[in-house]
């Protein structure tokens, strides 16, 4: 990251498609992720605009914070081009089930469809759609129990076998941009799971938002990889692999975990990374 981050403005487009004045919390990882995705998409006609948790803080009724003119030219050639590629962006909660259904339906009909799922740390406890090594700010007993009965979102998406699927995090912006561009180039269905840190949901310092995302990637909580036509590749490999406890130290929501339970989580992470 440090090596590539110098002279950033020359490498990425300056256009801001996503709301600079949105109503998100300070240090919102979701806003950071969507902003970088918007930079990668560039062409505003393909920009996602649907009902999701993204709209909560960008489209409170009388206001609009999108720099897009998505449906302004109905019937033109531009809209026909758009119809070939459908772009959806939603959170991991209830809309995820819809997204999975849409992925299967798009595969059945042979259409080109992109689904970007934004993982939030805070909503996980209610919806149980996280990998085995997931976590949530609730309590210890339920946390350990939930390690066994969670819906594994990424595995469910993998079962559909999309043409391109990947995981990304806004703490590694160039990786995220690369993957969004690959989804745009892909002809079939593609799935992108983006981990977004939530300082309000997990009650930590907003300044540590992207740092916590980086630690989640480097510890193996949320490994960044891609599967392109069946070939698996890890895109960001951590130079020094820190322990999960370092990541947990950052967040007060994990204070209630005892050392044994932290060890259990570490074992689950190790098992997941060695697979």
């Amino acid at each position: 990251m440090d090596r590539y981050s110098v002279f950033v403005p020359k490498l990425l487009p300056e256009t801001e498609l996503f709301s600079p004045e949105n109503r998100s919390c300070p240090g919102c990882g979701q806003a950071a992720a969507i902003r970088i995705i918007g930079k990668a998409v560039e062409d505003h006609r393909r920009y996602p605009y649907g009902i999701s948790n993204v709209e909560m803080h960008t489209s409170a009724f009388p206001y609009k914070q999108w720099e897009l003119t998505q449906a302004k030219k109905p019937g033109g050639t531009s809209l026909k081009l758009d119809a070939k590629k459908i772009f959806a962006m939603a959170g991991e909660s209830g809309s995820f089930d819809d997204g999975i259904r849409m992925l299967t339906e798009a595969k059945k009909q042979g259409k080109s469809f992109i689904y970007i799922c934004l993982f939030n740390e805070a909503g996980i406890e209610r919806h149980r759609e996280v990998p085995l090594n997931g976590y949530h700010p609730d309590g210890t007993k339920s946390f350990i129990r939930r390690l066994h009965d969670m819906k594994n979102l990424i595995d469910r998406a993998k079962a559909i076998s999309p043409d391109f699927m990947a995981t990304a995090c806004p703490s590694h912006p160039f990786d995220l941009v690369d993957k969004v561009k690959k989804t745009l180039d892909c002809r079939g269905i593609s799935f992108l799971a983006v981990f977004v840190p939530c300082p309000t949901g997990c009650s930590y310092d907003p300044a540590q938002s992207l740092n916590s995302g980086r630690l989640a990637v480097e510890t193996g909580f949320f490994p960044l990889y891609q599967i392109e036509h069946g070939s698996f590749r890890i895109t960001v490999s951590a130079q020094s692999v820190p322990r999960v406890s370092e990541y947990m130290k950052l967040q007060p929501s994990f204070v209630m975990l005892s050392p044994d339970e932290v060890k259990k989580v570490q074992d689950a992470v190790d098992k997941n990374t060695t697979q």
Binding site: V6, P20, A32, I36, Y63, P74, G75, Q208, L210
Partner: protein, 92 residues
């Protein structure tokens, strides 16, 4: 289907119920970023890491935060490689 889309868009254009207004975070934010120009080498990491796109380039290539947009989260000060940004409390 096309007709329905056209109708809704038209109604937005005439009624103008969707609009953009200036948003001022200055009233409620707790801290603001301050750039030390001696340490800054204009790399632009702060502008990329800002979730609100508040950081813009000003004179001589240095960066500064738009006071209306900046919510004072402090991500830029953490992301800065050379520690050129410090967060100072906002005076009320």
């Amino acid at each position: 289907m096309k007709r329905i889309i056209a109708k809704t868009v038209k109604s937005y254009d005439i009624g103008g119920c969707l609009r953009r207004e200036t948003f001022c975070a200055l009233e409620w934010r707790a801290a603001k970023p301050v750039w030390n120009t001696d340490r800054c080498f204009k790399c632009g990491v702060c502008s990329l890491s800002c979730p609100d796109a508040a950081i813009i380039q000003v004179d001589e290539g240095f960066y500064d935060a738009n006071p209306d947009r900046c919510k004072g989260c402090g991500i830029c000060s953490e992301a800065c490689i050379n520690e050129a940004i410090t967060m100072s409390p906002e005076k009320k």
